[in-house]
């Protein structure tokens, strides 16, 4: 699976578009983690679930391991933590300090991972920043993924 393919599947899984995912600068690192932890064969079978009749519902996956892998990849993007696919003796680990800081869960509500980004004195008194709108070109990548 090429990096572009990985990013395309990741966009379906996370709800962040491919430009946003590239902009994190983490896609290459995450693909490497997957290759190391799950292997090339598993990675080649990573797909987004086929559409469910209910919007937002997890659709059907061919099998449970495939579903587990899709969850693990989504979790990785949202948190920077690899939780494993429940098979090997896979201890959860944070991929890197940068991965922690880049977790999409913080961006989902316009926040920042604690202990990573100085916000300035008194910043917490202001109204929260507007959340980046979903699927709009507003969030252009600032760091190209290599």
């Amino acid at each position: 699976m090429t990096l572009d393919q990985f990013i395309a599947v990741s966009a379906e899984l996370t709800g962040f578009d491919t430009d946003e995912l590239r902009g994190t600068g983490l896609a290459g690192l995450y693909r490497t983690v997957l290759l190391e932890r799950a292997g090339a064969e598993q990675l080649s079978r990573l797909t987004a679930p086929s559409p469910s009749p209910i919007p937002g519902e997890v659709g059907t996956h061919a099998d449970e391991p495939q579903r587990e892998l899709a969850r693990a990849v989504t979790h990785l993007w949202y948190t920077g933590t690899w939780t494993g696919t429940g098979q090997a003796a896979d201890e959860p680990f944070v991929v890197s300090a940068r991965a922690y800081a880049g977790g999409l869960v913080w961006r989902s509500f316009g926040g920042h991972a604690p202990g990573t980004t100085p916000q300035g004195y008194g910043s917490w008194a202001a109204a929260p920043a507007a959340r980046p709108a979903q699927g709009t070109p507003g969030a252009r990548p600032t760091t190209a993924d290599r």
């Binding site: 997890v58 944070v94 869960v105 926040g111 604690p114 917490w124």
Partner: protein
């Protein structure tokens, strides 16, 4: 190199010298006592069981990296610890044989951790510094717990000194009006109040002036969202400067730059990293390392030095401390262990309340009353959590910037434990884990049929909810109960062969009635806020501190405020230390820290611990001077010792005589 303790200057070998004072523990209380005695030139050896650092920029960066990459971001996660001086983690609560450092005998878990490392738990603390209320010093009058042998007025000058030493930002007028604290005319906090959070403001809009029914109180309680004093850098008080009063300590190298991160020796302004527990990246939060940076040259720090026994002479006087050193970087069995003794005129135990009790018990010291290790108290915390009706910007700023103070005092105290309500800025982290946990939950169980969410719906749901998360943290006073205790048992040893603390812990009906009252108040607060209540205390590993009271289930966390284990009192018959934190049974042995507190009250205790430590420091100075008048002793041989923390002989004990 051998297991000889090494200080930050690379010097070794405190053994074989005679010290004026040995301080056991380089945390909050120990660092302050050593600082005060060093000001007078007394030769002080500080023994720290844990590892050194994270001092300096490199150590700080390492700690930050360790925190950011920790799978579980618990309070001890940024800091290196050793199996030779184990630290209890908040995650180890079941009391199983291999479950953590404390041996938990129940019936309920003692749910606080602490940190054995240079700087102690004061590295990881939240940094909130409310004073105790005058009423808190005689809460025994309400029929629960004990009275202090001193009152607010005795401690007030030391509250002032502590607030200026550690650097407190607070609104004095608000503290006077909303908390009812008396202040000396003309007193100023060194810094203006830390701004309240957007969440605090949303709370104030909905709650201020409204009333709630408190089942323990005859009248409804009127609500007022009140700012909390902080030991983190805010803006200097302009009036202080105008009046020619000395500015805060950090102003020595200029006031912090409000727009930047650079600034002063003592750190810049709070930058809102939202990680005060466990580590402040900008170093705006006070830690004991700041006090250590002000230590005089006569104070000598030895890390990796685990005190194992206080040495006592037949006449009851302490003569010194026996301690063990170990090699650094050992992950399994300890290496290079050596036993040492150091002699001193006076010994100060300033370790954590549980460690102080352990050391006294292992030494057979100070226990004429039978109270050593008893009266273990903490703040059991009832958490309630939910979603505000609109986005409030959760996970920004200090962990808590405001609270509700109206349930801390008054007649209701006779019927149920009082409590202080903290408004939690960090969402559901303390209750359910950080937002990463919500991702996992939604992936696995989200959606109408519980099969999990994915894609745009996952993003939309997280985006809608996490920024609305909030929590109330009800910190309840737990009264001194001799049955809650620390003991030692030679069958349970740590890696160095030192007995581990064995804990018996329970909550009384008085505390449980406090939980019930707090939950009733919480229900009304949620209704006033129009907030969605998500509070649930499910049976299982998520809530080891879970109990039922009158048919309702409650869960608790603990605030890390261990206290009472060498309790202070008026009489050697029923207390361990006197009002100066001096052991009744040993005229030159002090046990300082929260372990001395007869009541833990409802305020975060570190400021009170600091005030008590400074007060004891003055008393110890007087004790040493008095002894010097009696005992004629040559200091020539020790004054010229090479390789101490600073310049040999630069500060001799005799300088202390100039400052009676």
């Amino acid at each position: 190199m051998s297991g000889e303790p090494v200080d930050d200057m690379g010097n070794s070998g405190p053994e074989g010298r005679r010290w004026d004072v040995i301080v056991v523990g380089a945390g909050f209380a120990g660092s302050l006592v050593a600082q005060r005695l060093g000001e007078h030139g007394w030769r002080v050896l500080v023994l720290e069981a844990g590892l050194g650092a994270p001092g300096g920029d490199q150590g700080h960066e390492q700690a930050l990296e360790q925190y950011r990459t920790a799978a579980l971001k618990v309070p001890n996660s940024p800091y290196r610890t050793s199996t030779s001086a184990p630290s209890p983690d908040v995650t180890a609560l079941t009391g199983g044989p291999d479950d953590g450092y404390l041996v938990q005998r129940g019936p309920l878990p003692y749910a606080s951790g602490y940190l054995r490392a240079n700087g102690g738990t004061g590295l990881a603390w939240t940094g909130l510094t409310p004073r105790m209320h005058p009423e808190d010093f005689h809460s025994g009058d309400f029929g629960h717990g004990r009275n202090w042998p001193i009152g607010y007025r005795d401690l007030e000058p030391y509250y002032e000194q502590a607030e200026h030493h550690i650097g407190v930002a607070a609104d004095l007028d608000e503290q006077r009006a909303a908390v009812g604290l008396p202040f000396r005319d003309g007193y100023r906090f060194p810094m203006r109040a830390i701004p309240r959070s957007y969440l605090d403001q949303a709370m104030a809009d909905a709650l201020d002036g409204r009333t709630v029914r408190d089942p323990g109180a005859p009248e409804p309680a009127r609500l007022r969202v009140t700012g909390t004093p902080h030991a983190r850098n805010g803006l200097p008080d302009p009036d202080r400067t105008r009046n020619g009063l000395p500015g805060p300590q950090y102003a020595r190298s200029g006031p912090p730059d409000p727009h930047g991160t650079g600034g002063s020796a003592d750190g810049p302004l709070c930058q809102g990293h939202a990680s005060c527990v466990p580590i402040c990246p900008s170093r705006a939060k006070y830690t004991p390392l700041r006090t250590q940076a002000r230590w005089g040259p006569s104070v000598h720090l030895a890390t990796r030095a685990v005190a194992t026994r206080v040495r006592l002479a037949p006449d009851g006087r302490a003569t010194g401390v026996e301690y063990r050193t170990y090699e650094e970087g050992v992950t399994g069995a300890p290496g290079g262990v050596r036993t040492h003794t150091a002699d001193a005129d006076l010994v100060v135990l300033a370790a954590h309340a549980i460690e102080n009790a352990k050391l006294l018990l292992l030494s057979g010291a100070a226990n004429g009353s039978g109270q050593v290790g008893r009266n273990l108290m903490d703040h059991p915390v009832l958490l309630t959590w939910g979603l505000m009706p609109r986005q409030v910007g959760a996970y920004r700023g200090p962990g808590s910037t405001s609270g509700l103070e109206g349930f801390r005092f008054g007649a209701a105290r006779a019927r149920r434990a009082p409590f202080r309500v903290e408004i939690g800025n960090w969402g559901w982290t303390w209750a359910l884990g950080p937002p990463e946990q919500r991702v996992a939950d939604l992936l696995r169980g989200g959606g109408p049929d519980g099969r999990g969410l994915t894609g745009p719906e996952l993003r939309r749901t997280l985006g809608d909810r996490i920024g609305r998360e909030f929590a109330f943290q009800f910190e309840l006073e737990q009264e001194a109960d001799p049955a809650n205790r620390v003991t030692v048992d030679p069958r349970h040893l740590d890696a160095l062969g030192t007995p581990r603390p064995v804990i018996h812990y329970d909550l009384s009906d008085y505390v449980k009635r406090g939980f019930a009252a707090a939950k009733t108040v919480s229900d009304q607060l949620f209704a006033l806020l129009g907030a969605e209540d998500h509070t649930r205390f499910d049976a299982g590993p998520a809530w080891p501190g879970r109990f039922e009271h009158q048919g309702r289930a409650y869960g608790y966390r603990a605030a890390g405020h261990g206290a009472g284990t060498h309790i202070m009192g008026r009489s050697p018959a029923d207390s361990v230390v006197d009002e100066w934190q001096r052991c009744w049974d040993h005229p030159n042995l002090y046990a300082v820290g929260c372990g001395s507190m007869p009541t833990v009250a409802t305020s975060n205790p570190s400021l009170t611990m600091a005030a008590l430590a400074l007060r004891s420091g003055d008393r110890i100075h007087r004790d040493l001077l008095a002894r010097r008048h009696i005992v004629l002793r040559s200091t020539q041989s020790t004054r010229s010792v090479q390789g101490t923390h600073g310049v040999p002989g630069a500060a001799t004990p005799l300088q202390g005589a100039d400052h009676p």
